[in-house]
């Protein structure tokens, strides 16, 4: 039997899916299609070490020496433009069709752009290696950076640019940055890092528009303030890359909808990583997680599903980290508004702490700054505690 699995998207989730298929002794053909010309690379360093210039392209490559043995067929620089559900063929932008017995959708997400910012030099988003190289070059000759959006990527870019010696202002529409993922009180604590290191943070202010012809000169806020800028980074979230599936019959919502095991509504088609909104039994809705560890772990389940396994999916508590201004932030679990936070170790003022989020007296999530050892223990504890709590 010479089966073919097509993996669409050649990044962390796609590569992890290919590795997981081989780990499950799948011996057929695996074709990995990716629209970027680069071999898979790691995105988190793009706002951190790679942007700072302390990590090289080689450092951030995802491929490992052992990957040779996987025998993958790469189609890099090739975009998938459609999926035919009847023949299970993926249509590629070079006009060819890839017939497959199984398809892994791993097309990730792209940075949301600021309307009206197209064609203006000096305005950047940060998602891909090419984005990071362009931003790094532009920062090298810049003095003033304005970051629009104080989410994780915005905060990390601000931190890196500050360390490079730029004057940095971060603008955030919400009254408290990171209130969504961390809750208002802890979001405020983490956002305090900006002021610690001399980055100006403006909250509760919208952006009215960008000023400049040819090249950006300033960011105009809704209150009329003009912030002079040599470079602007827009960090206002990401959109799943699913438009190419619009006519495929695969169920779409905020991402490709899957069950808890990664299966879509189409037989033989699974979805993983940032493009997938998987059913969460705990949350009782589809959840699209945009974090590295999810893109690493989820494909193991989806690969098993594709090969016919039906064992229950493990549901480790979501985990992510962020590095800002030398502080290591780690978070695991599922937080909701109304959860009570308790400092278990250290203190927020000292920027070294572990905070537990509790619901009805039970821990549901944990946040740490500069406490990796203790955090690891709590994260493990949540792993065993969370399923039984729902």
């Amino acid at each position: 039997m010479s089966a073919t699995v097509a993996v669409i998207g050649a990044s962390l989730a796609g590569l992890s899916a290919a590795r997981a298929l081989r780990a499950r002794s799948y011996e057929g053909r695996i074709v990995v299609v990716g629209d970027e010309v680069h071999a898979p690379y790691d995105r988190p360093p793009l706002s951190k070490e790679f942007l700072a210039g302390t990590a090289s392209l080689e450092d951030i490559a995802l491929g490992a020496p052992d990957d040779e043995a996987l025998g993958l067929e790469w189609r890099l620089g090739t975009r998938a433009v459609g999926l035919d559900r009847h023949t299970r063929s993926v249509v590629l932008d070079d006009g060819s069709e890839l017939r497959a017995d199984g398809v892994v959708l791993a097309t990730g997400a792209r940075a949301r752009r600021l309307p009206g910012s197209d064609g203006l030099d000096g305005v950047h988003v940060l998602r891909s290696l090419d984005d990071a190289i362009a931003l790094r070059e532009d920062l090298a000759s810049a003095r003033r950076l304005v970051v629009i959006g104080a989410g994780f990527i915005g905060a990390e870019v601000a931190s890196t640019a500050r360390a490079l010696g730029l004057e940095v202002t971060v603008v955030e529409t919400q009254p408290v940055p990171l209130a969504g993922p961390l809750g208002a009180d802890m979001g405020a604590v983490c956002a305090g890092l900006h002021a610690d290191r001399g980055t100006r943070l403006l909250v509760g202010t919208g952006v009215a528009g960008l000023v400049g012809t040819g090249r950006v000169q300033a960011v105009e806020l809704t209150d009329g303030t003009r912030l002079p800028a040599d470079v602007v980074v827009v960090g206002i979230g990401a959109v799943p890359n699913t438009e190419w599936l619009a006519d495929s019959g695969v169920a779409l919502g905020n991402g490709v909808l899957t069950d808890a095991r990664g299966a879509t509504n189409l037989p033989g088609v699974v979805a993983v990583g940032d493009c997938a909104a998987a059913w969460s039994p705990a949350a009782e809705r589809h959840v699209r997680i945009e974090h590295w560890t999810n893109a690493l772990e989820q494909p193991a389940t989806a690969a098993a599903t594709l090969l016919g396994a039906t064992t229950p999916a493990p549901a480790p508590p979501p985990y992510f980290w962020s590095d800002q201004y030398g502080a290591r932030i780690q978070f695991a679990g599922a937080r909701r508004d109304g959860d009570v936070t308790r400092v278990v170790e250290g203190s927020c003022a000292e920027r070294s702490f572990l905070v537990v989020y509790e619901r009805d007296g039970h821990p549901v999530a944990v946040l740490a700054m500069n406490q990796p050892r203790l955090f690891t223990r709590w994260r493990r504890q949540l792993r065993s505690a969370v399923p039984s709590a729902s």
Binding site: S16, L62, A64, W292, T293, W321, R328, P372, T376
Partner: protein, 106 residues
């Protein structure tokens, strides 16, 4: 030989870190002592802060696992192994012998 700590200060399931040219992490796995480079080969996490799982330690940051006996890494994001070091116990004191010459496994 670098002194680590008295044997009773490193009970089973625990790890500690000692300063050397490159910091070294020492682990007690059910009474067996192992020493490897403390700094993860991916970034700069301290593996002594990691999670012990049998004879492997999971990096506290991005979860690459290293085999304490061989230093081999089991999965991404780390790509390179860590070095292993010899552990010696003398008079209830734990010592490490950094970076043994190419003599194979101890």
């Amino acid at each position: 030989m670098i002194p680590v700590c008295p044997t009773n200060a490193l009970p089973p399931g625990e790890a500690t870190r000692v300063e050397a040219d490159e910091p070294i992490a020492v682990f007690n796995v059910d009474g067996e002592l192992y020493a490897i480079d403390d700094t993860c080969t991916h970034q700069d996490a301290s593996l002594a802060d990691g999670w012990l799982d049998g004879c492997a330690v999971e990096c506290p940051l991005h979860a690459s696992c290293f085999d304490l006996r061989t230093g081999k890494v089991s999965g991404p994001p780390a790509k390179r192994p860590v070095r292993t070091h010899r552990v010696v116990v003398q008079d209830d004191m734990i010592y490490v012998l950094p970076h043994p010459a190419e003599e194979g496994a101890a």
